[in-house]
């Protein structure tokens, strides 16, 4: 991505309480006329410098807790020579300039690639902008540019200190420099330093604005009655009682059910209970977990599609004792703390949408599709995301808000309940995996045959995203495309996320990876660390099982078999050395697991005890190599959080399907790790000059197998099913 000089129509939309919620650069004919911040120098899509030296950074990626505003402000601030904490961060509107360079230009945030994708482009933006200010200062002050230095938003020249803002008038008249040389590492003032996050004060004082907090004039509230089985459609509904209830202004059918629109949320909620809906249920309604598991087990016998095949696995398996095991991972919900929500306002041939999303352009496209407006006439505003983990790329709630606003003529906020979130969402696919492996006489892994049975996420993701990415494409074409992709992955090709991580980290000269697609109709999507969230459990459990069967040390085995993967080898060595030094109290044991994902390498050691059928994780060591670290404390926080997220899945996470409906509904039966169960986490970062790689997800995959390996060490019992339940072993 290259920032180009443009005459942007840039401005800040001011909504309720002086809240700056975003801006539009295109400002199509019907869009609000947004102006550049008065007098500001806007050399590109990302930076605006005011004459008052207020500097705004339009952050192209979405802040869902991963610290991306801090990280990207650090990149741009480093080269601009401004303390990142002094940049006013705004969430960018929809524009091609804000596309994700690591996602082919789609304006989306995910796959742990914000830092790697923007590391050079945003620094270039900062460097070119700083250079523009220096050249303007040189001209204005009549001083050669090479005599001018900069420091924290100020030009230093001949003992004087001038704010950048003093030169924006002149800068505007000069051509924008391009390809300005970037700083060398020794010049870094902010990159790699222990700096606090820039959004903590807002978040600690309740002033940070999430989607749920958006409030616009005359805003009404909608609650949607949904099908008990996902995908059910409304046959008829009786809303006579609901319509007579206080505050209710409309009861309207929307794509996913019946929306009850009222003046207040609680009025809509109460009225929704009085609406009776008759549903036409999809084939999923005949499916239950028991059958899904049985189908998967049956499918393991199928040959499946080959994802990878190297060497002669059959010969190697025949030559030595084979260890074989099956591993299960269930369906999971993301359960971000902020339930799904969106605000849509339609009127005067235009529309606006506010939602905290991982893909703002899709939100805009969905509103365009529902309203029939050109996307150019829809303004989309992002907010802070109250957690996402892959969930906030799917936006049924935006469609619902648009349909409810369209039908009632009112600005509408749709808010999902927690029950909606657990029961009507999109899910991490369940997986059954079998691995057969054998050790050679020299201690190397002689054979590795792995197979995964389960659903694919890409067809569903296409169905969920195409309508918003391509609002002009007809629904029929999208269904057709989704079906073709289904067919492609259901018998011809293996979807990469279905098997990613089943074999990647070790030297496996003889290996076969295969896949059998089984889709029972539950909508599937990305879930923090995607395929790695289940494959690492199988792979790293099997490594320990192999070691145990061979009487080998599991850390040594890992080290011996990672010769061609030096960064993986290194994190295993560091974690393994530390593990050998750990002295654990009586009744506790240690387990290690390592996994590479999103370009990063992570090894984790878990210290656990098992008592009364319950696993307690006391301490976790996390060793991570994520290339060059932009902000060590943000990396530390992401590893801590990944361990907790992964532990919820390892110890509690489980969704059961009963006649097509999700049985769980709220935090009493879909428990999330709480503080009194949380381990202490120590994070060790490998010093590296490699290009930065993923941080938000790679800490998740190793924790479940590390705990399973520790439980085996503590009890002798091998748990091969998630969540880990010692009493059922």
């Amino acid at each position: 991505m290259k920032a180009t000089r443009r005459n942007f129509l840039i401005g800040a939309g001011v909504v309720g309480g002086g809240l700056v919620v975003g801006f539009s650069m295109r400002g199509g004919p019907g869009a609000p006329r947004l102006q550049a911040v008065e007098g500001a120098y806007a050399p590109n899509a990302f930076l605006q410098i005011g004459p008052d030296n207020v500097m705004r950074f339009y952050c192209p990626r979405d802040e869902m807790g991963q610290g991306v505003t801090t990280g990207l402000a650090t990149l741009v601030g480093e080269e601009l020579d401004v303390d990142p904490a002094k940049l006013l961060v705004e969430f960018a509107g929809v524009h091609e300039e804000y596309g994700n360079p690591a996602m082919g230009g789609v304006q989306a945030t995910g796959a742990s690639n914000a830092t790697s994708g923007h590391f050079l482009p945003l620094r270039q933006v900062g460097a070119d902008t700083r250079r523009a200010i220096v050249l303007a200062a040189a001209q204005q002050l009549g001083v050669p540019a090479h005599e001018i230095a900069t420091e924290d938003g100020h030009v230093l020249v001949r003992g004087e200190r001038h704010p950048y803002g003093a030169f924006v008038e002149t800068a505007r008249t000069l051509p924008l420099p391009e390809s300005t040389p970037l700083k060398s590492e020794s010049q870094f003032r902010y990159i790699g330093k222990e700096l606090p996050r820039i959004d903590s004060l807002e978040k600690a004082t309740g002033t940070a604005v999430f989607g749920i907090d958006v409030d616009i004039p005359d805003m009404h509230h909608a609650v949607v009655q949904r099908s008990p089985v996902i995908g059910g459609t409304v046959v008829s509904f009786d809303a006579r009682r609901a319509r007579a209830m206080p505050g209710v202004v409309g009861v309207v059918e929307v794509a996913s059910g019946v929306a009850i629109v009222a003046k207040q949320y609680w009025q809509a909620k109460k009225a929704a209970e009085a609406v009776r809906v008759e549903w036409d249920l999809p084939p999923l309604a005949t499916v239950s977990s028991r059958q899904i598991e049985a189908d998967y087990r049956h499918a393991l016998a199928e040959e499946g599609e080959s994802a990878e095949s190297e060497g002669d696995v059959a010969a190697a398996l025949a030559a030595s004792r084979t260890v074989e095991a099956e591993y299960w991972a269930p369906y999971l919900a993301h359960a971000p703390m902020e339930p799904m929500n969106a605000v849509v306002r339609i009127g005067g041939g235009e529309a606006e949408v506010w939602t905290g999303t991982q893909a703002l352009g899709i939100a805009r496209g969905l509103v365009a599709r529902v309203t029939g407006l050109d996307a150019e006439r829809v303004v989309a505003h992002n907010t802070y995301l109250g957690g996402a983990f892959g969930r906030r790329a799917t936006m049924t709630h935006v469609v619902e808000a648009a349909q409810a606003a369209q039908a009632t003529g009112k600005p509408v906020q749709v808010l999902w309940s927690r029950e909606d979130d657990i029961r009507s969402g999109v899910y991490r696919p369940a997986s059954l995996m079998r691995i057969e492996a054998a050790m050679g006489a020299d201690g190397t892994i002689a054979a590795w045959r792995a197979k995964r049975v389960g659903g694919n996420i890409v067809p569903g993701i296409l169905r969920q995203m195409l309508p918003g990415l391509l609002p002009g494409m007809s629904g029929g074409v999208i269904d057709w495309a989704g079906d073709r992709v289904d067919g492609l992955f259901g018998g011809w090709l293996v979807e990469p996320t279905a098997v990613e991580g089943l074999a990647g980290d070790y030297d496996l000269p003889n290996r076969e990876i295969a896949h059998v697609t089984k889709d029972h109709g539950l909508p599937l999507t990305f879930w923090r660390s995607v395929g790695h969230s289940f494959t690492a459990f199988a792979k790293e459990s099997m490594i320990d099982e192999l070691a145990a069967a061979a009487g080998d040390d599991a850390v040594d085995l890992r080290l011996r078999n990672t010769a061609s993967n030096p960064r993986m080898h290194n994190v295993i060595r560091i974690a393994g050395d530390r593990m050998r030094e750990m002295r654990v109290p009586e009744g506790r044991a240690l387990g290690l697991a390592a996994h590479g994902s999103f370009g990063s390498f992570v090894a984790e050691v878990a210290e656990v005890s098992v008592a009364g059928g319950a696993i307690r994780v006391h301490n976790v060591l996390c060793v991570v190599d994520c290339g060059r670290v932009i902000n060590p404390d943000v990396v530390r926080a992401q590893m801590e959080g990944s361990v907790m997220y992964g532990l919820t899945a390892a110890l509690h996470g489980n969704l059961e399907v009963e006649n097509g409906a999700i049985r769980e509904s709220n935090f009493h039966d879909y428990p999330i790790l709480r503080m009194n169960e949380a381990p202490a986490v120590e994070v060790v970062m490998v010093e590296s000059r490699e290009h930065p790689s993923g941080v938000g997800e790679p800490g998740v995959p190793p924790i479940a197998p590390a705990v399973a390996n520790a439980v085996h060490a503590a009890t002798g019992r091998r748990l091969r099913s998630l969540p880990l339940r010692p009493e059922t072993a």
Binding site: G17, P196, S200, R418, N666, F667, H668
Partner: protein, 158 residues
């Protein structure tokens, strides 16, 4: 008509007395700092103080606070004048997504008000009702214990 004190000011509302306090505060009084997470008093995102005690307001009907003193995160501290817990939250970069943090801080403030020197296990027990999906627990705990230490240091000095 229900009357109660909200962050030190007497307020009145015609809202249905059965409406959970959370929605009255958010939608009628437009204080959006307190969050909705579960609607069933399971996650603590909606925690406010009622007469000083931490209460889950997503299930607390409005009429239960008639005549009482309600404090929200906005009443605890502001960006210009933050509460010691809020300062420590910033110093330790506690929040990730930040959504649960107002509830966490209100629970922590109630704990420290009743027990200024909690043991680590007391912090864990008092905070077990507040879910953080981002998993900020080690930092939340560290921040609470650090504020308690600061209180003690102040007492020693003064």
């Amino acid at each position: 008509m229900t009357e109660f004190t909200l962050n030190g000011q007497v307020v009145r509302t015609e809202d249905d007395p059965g409406t959970p306090l959370l929605w009255v505060v958010r939608d009628t009084f437009k204080l959006k700092g307190t969050k909705f997470g579960c609607g069933a008093a399971l996650c603590g995102a909606c925690t406010m103080h009622v007469d000083g005690a931490a209460v889950r307001t997503c299930t607390l009907p409005l009429n239960a606070v008639a005549g009482k003193h309600v404090t929200t995160i906005e009443g605890l501290g502001t960006p210009d004048d933050p509460h010691p817990l809020q300062r420590k939250w910033v110093a330790l970069s506690v929040p990730q997504c930040g959504y649960c943090q107002p509830g966490q801080i209100m629970s922590a403030a109630a704990l420290l008000a009743s027990n200024p020197r909690p043991a680590e296990s007391e912090v864990e027990d008092a905070m077990a009702g507040n879910i953080c999906r981002c998993g900020c627990y080690p930092r939340i705990k560290a921040a609470i214990l650090a504020v308690a230490d600061d209180f003690l240091a102040e007492e020693v000095v003064t």
